[in-house]
């Protein structure tokens, strides 16, 4: 184990920290709609999600031996310092969007971080930009649309079919069904996202010669990655859960089941076809479709707009932060220490900022939006114009 240098230890810890943020950022994907409809109590929901994320980490037999799925050229010299910088960019973006209560893609944050750090550390030739387009950008645009359309159709049909039944029995039944669909999403999430962290740690160990190339992750890597994502999931990103469950639209059980079924289906079919897509975007798209397909046909477009802007920003923003971090970390041990200190300080500052308006299991279903944008100034000029 003499291969494990200071930098490698730092990378492993940071990878687990990213896994943790990934977990609590994405709890909302599987559970927001179940919590909003009352299918699962908030604490129960995050517990189930945590257990299934942990289980999901062990489920897959074909373990990811690649971090990026060909987005960056891993043989071109993916040094631990570059991986470290990528993780820093991804973590900071995840925390910032969590603070704002915006569901953004943890995978895109990681990919963006890898791209930014690789461009700075290796050069433009280290990034396979055609893979970025075909494997990330096109699915990123298509998958929320498909999930939204499917959830819309399923919601309409569900209301149509059950319109003659008893409302009470129907709502109870759909709530029951939601337990299964949201569990399926959690399981798929654990398998996908915990493996990314395992891949990062494994490749870091390979890059310093502690493991043979092509080696499977050691058990401690699998267990710690699964535990980190499960712990993060259990902490529950309540701010994001509130935005997704109550911010976009009012979700009733029929819409909840339609959303979750659409999300689970899109995730499974596209993963099967080899598209790496964002669970977050698929689930948000599904909720939007279900909102429009529901009896009220309502959707809070202001929040939709903010979410879509955030999705567009995720990749470049994480890339920019990671690029800067790669530049600093490349200067030597003090650079790595500086980046690490910045990461800790930035994370701490965002956590403190979140305390000002805490969202937790007890108030997650309140309709008040997280971080309500200041709009008091906007109407004033309008009225004065009219008055003048």
């Amino acid at each position: 184990m003499e291969h494990i240098t200071f930098l490698v230890a730092v990378v492993i810890i940071t990878a687990l920290a990213f896994d943790f943020t990934n977990g609590f950022h994405d709890t909302a994907n599987a559970m927001a709609t179940s919590i909003a409809t009352g299918a699962l109590k908030p604490k129960v929901a995050v517990t189930i999600a945590a257990v299934l994320n942990f289980a999901g980490a062990f489920l897959s037999v074909k373990v990811a031996t690649t971090i990026s799925g060909g987005i960056v050229n891993e043989k071109a010299g993916l040094q631990p310092s570059i991986i470290f910088a990528a993780l820093v960019g991804a973590i900071l973006w995840n925390l910032l969007t969590w603070l704002k209560g915006l569901p953004s893609s943890s995978s895109h944050a990681l990919y963006g971080g890898l791209i930014g750090a690789t461009v700075v550390g290796v050069g433009l030739n280290g990034v396979n930009f055609d893979v970025v387009v075909t494997k990330i950008l096109i699915p990123a645009v298509a998958s929320p649309l498909v999930a939204g359309l499917a959830a819309w159709g399923a919601t309409r049909l569900a209301y149509l079919i059950t319109r003659g039944g008893r409302e009470e029995t129907t709502e109870k039944g759909f709530r029951r069904g939601q337990m299964f669909t949201s569990s399926l999403i959690s399981l798929a999430h654990g398998t996908n996202d915990a493996q990314k962290t395992m891949g990062i740690i494994t490749l870091t160990l390979v890059s310093v010669g502690a493991l043979k190339p092509g080696a499977l992750p050691p058990t401690w890597v699998i267990v710690s990655a699964g535990a980190a994502i499960a712990l993060g999931t259990y902490m529950g990103g309540w701010r994001i859960i509130r935005s997704m469950g109550n911010g976009l639209t009012e979700i009733r059980p029929r819409q909840g089941l339609a959303t979750e079924t659409a999300a689970a289906t899109v995730i499974l079919t596209s993963t099967h076809m080899g598209y790496g897509l964002s669970t977050t975007q698929v689930c948000s798209g599904g909720i939007m479709g279900a909102g429009l397909g529901g009896p009220k046909r309502e959707l809070r477009w202001s929040l939709v707009r903010r979410m879509v802007y955030t999705w567009g920003l995720t990749l470049p923003a994480a890339a920019a932060v990671a690029g800067l971090a790669a530049f600093v970390a490349d200067q030597g041990a003090w650079g790595v220490a500086l980046v690490g200190a910045t990461l800790v300080a930035g994370s701490g500052a965002m956590w403190i900022a979140s305390r000002r308006q805490p969202v937790h299991a007890g108030n997650v279903n309140d309709v008040q939006e997280v971080e309500v944008p200041v709009q008091t100034a906007a109407p004033t000029p309008a009225t004065t114009t009219v008055a003048a």
Partner: protein, 81 residues
């Protein structure tokens, strides 16, 4: 750069079809359950000619088993990768 539009369209179409089919099956199952409840109440309150609702229960069981098998297939997809 080669973009496989047909594979993309296939994935999208398949996702849409499966989602709508599963939710429809589930909704039919719920409707059947609700019919059975109504039938049983009719029997209890002694309305003549009320069926027991067993057929509705069988229909519900069929619908839910369809959903369950799709979910099971989904789990094998997750595990088999």
């Amino acid at each position: 750069m080669h973009i496989k539009w047909d594979a993309l369209a296939q994935t999208a179409g398949l996702s849409f079809a499966i989602t709508v089919a599963v939710v429809a099956a589930f909704a039919l199952g719920i409707l059947a359950l609700s019919r059975r409840e109504a039938a049983q109440e009719a029997v209890r309150s002694g309305i003549p000619g009320a069926g027991s609702g067993n057929l509705a229960l069988a229909g519900a069981a069929l619908c839910f088993s369809v959903c369950a098998s799709v979910v099971f297939y989904g789990i094998t997809l997750i595990a088999g990768r």
